[in-house]
């Protein structure tokens, strides 16, 4: 396989090429001509190229190993110990695939519309893809922070420049709010990341480094770990968004162009969850255990608040938005169950949620065009009569959203709740109501828009071939994941266990582990590799992650 840098920078390069080409043709290129523009076509080429490479990395993934694969490691800033280090692991390989898929779908969707200044628009779009891929693949803390911050900039421009004004909330205000919210979190994370690198180098006595895996964060005192954890958590929870920190979400979601929102909701929220799993749990296990209850309560609040909001909103985008809050709540719940099952369910659910929310938003866009531009579900209704294909595609997406048994989302939520049960019984029981509420809001959206009386403004027609070209591939992937979730589970199993291992033993979810005393020393126990650990602890609660849900799953699919 080619080096990962090509995957990351290919989209940005083609986006830049598109911008330059429209510059060369003169700034008059305002998109008056219908259909395809050169920048749009180049962007699509870049997104498809990245998708091809990402599929290649998934196919090429070596399942048994916990080592990073396809590593690129160059010293970027020697004085600061920052490496340009990229690598594929079980944690990020599917998220990279998800990113590439959703960006390809969104760029295709964006190509179906006319944009002012297409060169600049598609440049920002592709820069965003590069930054997100970079954040997933970065194996250096400082590099991760850099990509994490960088990915906001193109979104700032896309929302502010091409978004929609909604009443008194102009797009500029909405985008400012959302950028400030997220940057507050990510700058705190910057300070925390630098402190991690510097302090662990001081304590451990050595050169400063930010490379994940080389940071000896175990040398940090527990007080230091705690504040660093909180700073990281602030960044990730805002990004998701989680309940008390979601204030930017409603305005932001309503202002974004729907094509941008597809990737924003589908992919960017996952970077936060990924950060917890890939960075926070392995580096600060002590603090993760310390704040476990807090995080679980936040997750629970997000589930309940998001679900209730999602079935009381009438703006279809906000239904999708608040349902994301709820789903990300489930993911947080799984991660902070601090055991292998929960974390693996969380990882699977990240992919699943991205796969359903992006087509859902695209469908909302299509519905709005049928309903005279209105995104209010009270104006929709009765689409199904003349649009059977569209309605069935929508049904598949809706059922996946509510985690119907048989869908991959079901497996994800099942694992998450199983993990949560082992961690905190009471919280898991309350969280179960979220599963019920999910079917309420998902079905409400579906019924109100597809069935019922035909809305006053609605002119029903079936989906166009171009729209279908966006929707069908993503729906096919949803179906494929429903049939074969092991594809993701197998590849992520080892990496997830390594990631939560220390925190799991600290939290006591690993009572008969081979380490006599849970504490700082457990890292040493890890060195033989998780394979030895799985043989020794098979039968305890942490392990055997992939197996139990497979049986009900296969049965469900068979029906």
């Amino acid at each position: 396989m080619p080096p990962l840098s090509i995957l990351i920078w290919l989209p940005a390069a083609l986006g830049l090429l598109g911008a330059l080409s429209s510059l060369a043709r003169g700034a008059r290129d305002t998109g008056e001509e219908a259909g395809w523009t050169l920048p749009g076509a180049l962007a699509l080429l870049g997104a498809l190229g990245a998708l091809g490479l990402a599929i290649g990395y998934i196919a090429d993934f070596h399942i048994g190993s916990t080592k990073l694969q396809h590593v690129t490691d160059v010293m970027w800033v020697k004085e600061l110990g920052i490496h340009y280090k990229l690598g594929v692991s079980g944690l990020n390989v599917f998220l990279v695939g998800l990113t590439a898929l959703l960006f390809a779908a969104a760029v295709l969707a964006a190509n179906l519309r006319r944009w002012q200044r297409p060169g600049l628009f598609f440049f920002h779009f592709m820069l965003a893809e590069s930054a997100v891929l970079g954040a997933f693949l970065a194996q250096d803390l400082a590099l991760f922070v850099a990509f994490f911050d960088l990915m906001l900039i193109p979104f700032y421009f896309m929302v502010g420049g091409w978004g929609a004004d909604r009443g008194e909330v102009t797009r500029v205000r909405a985008t400012l709010k959302f950028v400030i919210y997220t940057f507050v979190g990510s700058l705190l994370m910057l300070a925390a990341a630098i402190a991690t690198g510097v302090l662990s180098a001081q304590e451990g006595g050595g050169h400063i480094t930010f490379a994940l895996g080389e940071i000896r964060s175990s040398a940090l005192g527990s007080g230091t770990q705690d504040w660093i954890f909180l700073f990281f958590a602030a960044a990730f929870l805002v990004k998701m968004p989680a309940f008390p920190l979601h204030g930017w979400m409603p305005d932001g979601y309503r202002a974004m162009p729907i094509e941008v929102l597809m990737v924003f909701s589908g992919v960017l929220s996952k970077v936060g969850a990924y950060g917890f799993l890939a960075i926070v749990l392995p580096l600060f296990p002590g603090a993760a255990v310390h704040f476990q209850t807090l995080m679980l309560v936040i997750a629970l609040a997000s589930i309940l608040y998001g679900s209730v909001q999602a079935f009381s909103q009438t703006d279809a985008r906000l239904v999708a938005g608040y349902s994301s809050v709820a789903q990300l709540g489930f993911i947080t719940l799984g991660i902070f169950a601090l055991n292998g099952k929960g974390a693996q369910g969380a990882l699977l659910q990240m992919v699943n949620h991205g796969l359903v929310v992006a087509p859902l938003l695209f469908i909302i866009g299509v519905l709005a065009r049928r309903a005279d531009g209105s995104e209010d579900i009270r104006d929709m209704g009765g689409i199904a009569t003349r649009a059977p294909v569209f309605a069935s595609l929508f049904l598949i997406v809706s059922l996946a959203t509510l985690a119907m048994p048989g869908s991959s989302n079901f497996v994800g939520e099942f694992l998450i709740l199983l993990g949560a049960f082992q961690a905190k019984l009471a919280i898991a029981i309350i969280a179960f109501t979220g599963v019920v509420l999910a079917s309420v809001y998902a079905l409400r959206l579906f019924i109100r828009s597809v069935h019922n009386r035909v809305g006053a403004k609605v002119s029903s027609r079936d989906i166009s071939i171009a729209d279908g070209a966006v929707l069908v591939p993503v729906v096919l992937v949803i179906l494929f994941m429903a049939l074969y979730p092991q594809l993701a589970l197998k590849r992520s199993e080892k990496a997830v266990q390594t990631s939560v291992y220390v925190a799991a033993s600290d939290s006591g979810a690993h009572p008969e582990g081979q380490c006599p005393k849970p504490g700082r020393d457990v890292l040493g126990c890890l060195t033989p590799g998780p394979s030895s650990q799985s043989t020794q602890t098979a039968g305890t609660q942490v392990l055997g992650t992939g197996e139990p849900p497979e049986t009900p799953e296969e049965g469900a699919v068979g029906e």
Binding site: L23, A27, V77, K78, E79, L80, R117, A142, V145, A146, F147, D149, L150, I153, Y156, F157, G160, G161, R171, V172, T175, L176, V179, I180, F183, V184, L187, L188, L190, A191, I194, A195, G197, V198, L199, Q202, I208
Partner: protein, 527 residues
């Protein structure tokens, strides 16, 4: 009689290290030459040759600095130190001043002040800064500071027909004099306590016994901190900054914002991290608190400003706070981080000020935020540098500002001031609320249809109060002189593009900057 004394005394000429002094000689000699050329009758020569000579002078000073690069020596009987820090700062000063010269070519300020005098003042001021950056003796420090300041007081007031310019000059004069007086008083007290004006002798005296906690020393240090804070606009001594920055002609503001800060922080580094290093326990926490206050005050003050120059003034206050963090920790890492940030700060601010100058000339809206409306579409050559400058000042990755801020936080955390590192990021958060609206104005607003009235041409200037009518008449009708270009001017665009490109380039490839500051870090002999 006197002949006999002369004959009997064994006179020995002092040894003068001309090589070490050469950058300073070039600057001050150039100032004299420029002043002379300003007397030539031809207006064309005055308007074009004089700035060209200024640029050549600055180029010579930079060249001589590079020639001296690896030197480590004290010259003028220990009053000045030529080392990595002084030379690195000289480079920054030369580049900043060259940008200011380009911005003031064809500008009103230089014309009003008769070009020769304007550029001579500019070069003298830069000479003062260069002296300050090398000063190793409290007397040299004070001389450098005054040499820096006095020309700037005059330059602030060079747009004589504009009240704000005069106000800025007067305000700067008064506040600056208070600052100088405070500093002088503090220096005198330190002399009184330690019995020496030499930095290393002061350090030895303070390191010796209980002097470091002596009330006289502490008062002296406090007054020195206050005096230098006036100069580098550190809160709570920053109140003059917004008014002066706003009132002064924009090219002069650019010069003040960048080079003055370079010189003031340079002297902060050398005086505090060399002479007063033994008293670090006393002034370290105090200056750290000042830095944190400055970060908050600067960033909060910049919120909601509609004048770009005022906004950048407050932002420069905040940036001074960030850079003080490098002084506070008093480590080699801190020195390097501060110097690196100064370099980065040069790029970002010069790009921003160049864009402001260009838009002032085109729109007639002055430095209002509205003057930038819609330039993302109409004038991307200016919009991109401004975008990069704002993102850089906010500390976004892939710009040099990110690297600079990263290094400063790194230095504060490893120097034991983690909370100051957190203060830096809190400041950056607040700063987004005023940097991002600038981007929004450029890229997300339409250009106002009716706002494109060009500014008043020189011929239509109001009469100078108290000036002679003949002089005014003569000033109004100078045919041969380069007038303020209506399109902003290519040289201004060049400064903007270079600044923006450097901000981006060094954000991605920062290694050259680290190589540059390495020698500066070694110079002070810190850990």
């Amino acid at each position: 009689m006197s002949a006999a004394v002369l004959a009997s005394a064994h006179l020995k000429g002092p040894h003068v290290d001309f090589a070490g002094l050469s950058p300073l000689i070039a600057l001050l000699g150039g100032a004299t030459i420029v002043l002379m050329f300003g007397l030539i009758g031809s207006r064309w020569v005055r308007a074009n040759l004089v700035p060209a000579l200024s640029l050549i002078t600055l180029g010579a000073a930079v060249g001589l600095t590079i020639w001296q690069w690896d030197e480590q020596k004290s010259i003028v009987s220990g009053a000045l130190r030529i080392d990595g820090l002084a030379l690195a700062l000289n480079l920054v000063l030369g580049a900043g001043a060259a940008c200011a010269v380009l911005l003031s070519w064809r500008s009103l300020a230089a014309r009003e002040a008769a070009h020769g005098e304007f550029h001579a003042l500019l070069l003298t001021s830069v000479g003062g800064m260069s002296l300050l950056a090398a000063a190793q003796n409290t007397v040299a420090l004070f001389v450098g500071l005054e040499l820096l300041s006095i020309p700037l007081y005059v330059m602030c007031a060079t747009e004589m027909r504009r009240e704000h310019s005069l106000e800025a000059g007067l305000k700067y004069l008064i506040v600056g004099s208070v600052g100088s007086a405070t500093l002088l008083y503090g220096l005198a007290m330190i002399y009184g306590a330690t019995g020496s004006t030499d930095f290393s002798a002061i350090a030895r005296a303070l390191g010796g016994g209980g002097l470091a906690t002596d009330p006289l020393t502490l008062t002296g240090i406090a007054l020195c901190v206050a005096g230098l804070c006036f100069k580098s606009s550190v809160a709570p001594f920053h109140q003059w900054t917004p008014d002066v920055y706003e009132g002064a002609p924009t090219p002069v503001t650019a010069l003040m914002a960048v080079t003055t800060k370079v010189a003031a922080l340079g002297v902060f580094l050398r005086f505090f991290d060399v002479a007063l290093i033994s008293a670090h326990g006393s002034w370290g926490p105090a200056v750290a608190v000042l830095a944190a206050i400055t970060i908050v005050v600067g960033n909060v003050g910049a919120l909601g400003q509609s004048s770009l120059k005022r906004m950048l003034a407050y932002s420069s206050v905040a940036q001074a706070g960030y850079m003080l963090a490098g002084v506070v920790v008093a480590t080699r890492l801190g020195v390097q981080a501060t110097v690196l940030y100064l370099v980065v700060y040069l790029f970002m601010n010069m790009a921003a000020f160049a864009v402001i100058v260009a838009r002032e000339r085109v729109t007639g809206l002055g430095d209002s935020l509205d003057s930038l409306a819609g330039i993302g579409r109409s004038d991307p050559v200016l919009a991109w540098p401004m975008t990069l400058a704002m993102l850089g000042l906010a500390g976004i990755p892939a710009t040099a500002g990110f690297v600079g801020k990263f290094y400063l936080i790194d230095a504060s955390v490893s120097g034991g001031y983690t909370w100051l590192g957190v203060a830096i990021v809190v400041g950056s958060m607040i700063s987004l609320a005023y940097y991002l609206p600038v981007l929004a104005t450029m890229w997300m607003r339409e250009a106002p249809a009716a706002g494109r009235t060009p500014p008043a041409r020189p011929g239509g200037l109001p009469a100078l109060a108290g000036g002679s009518p003949e002089l005014d008449a003569g000033a109004g009708a100078d045919a041969g002189e380069a007038v303020v270009p209506a399109d902003g001017g290519w040289e201004v665009g060049l400064v903007a593009v270079l600044g923006g490109a450097a901000t981006l380039f060094f954000g991605i490839v920062p290694q050259p900057l680290f190589d540059l500051v390495h020698s500066a870090g070694r110079a002070l002999g810190l850990l």
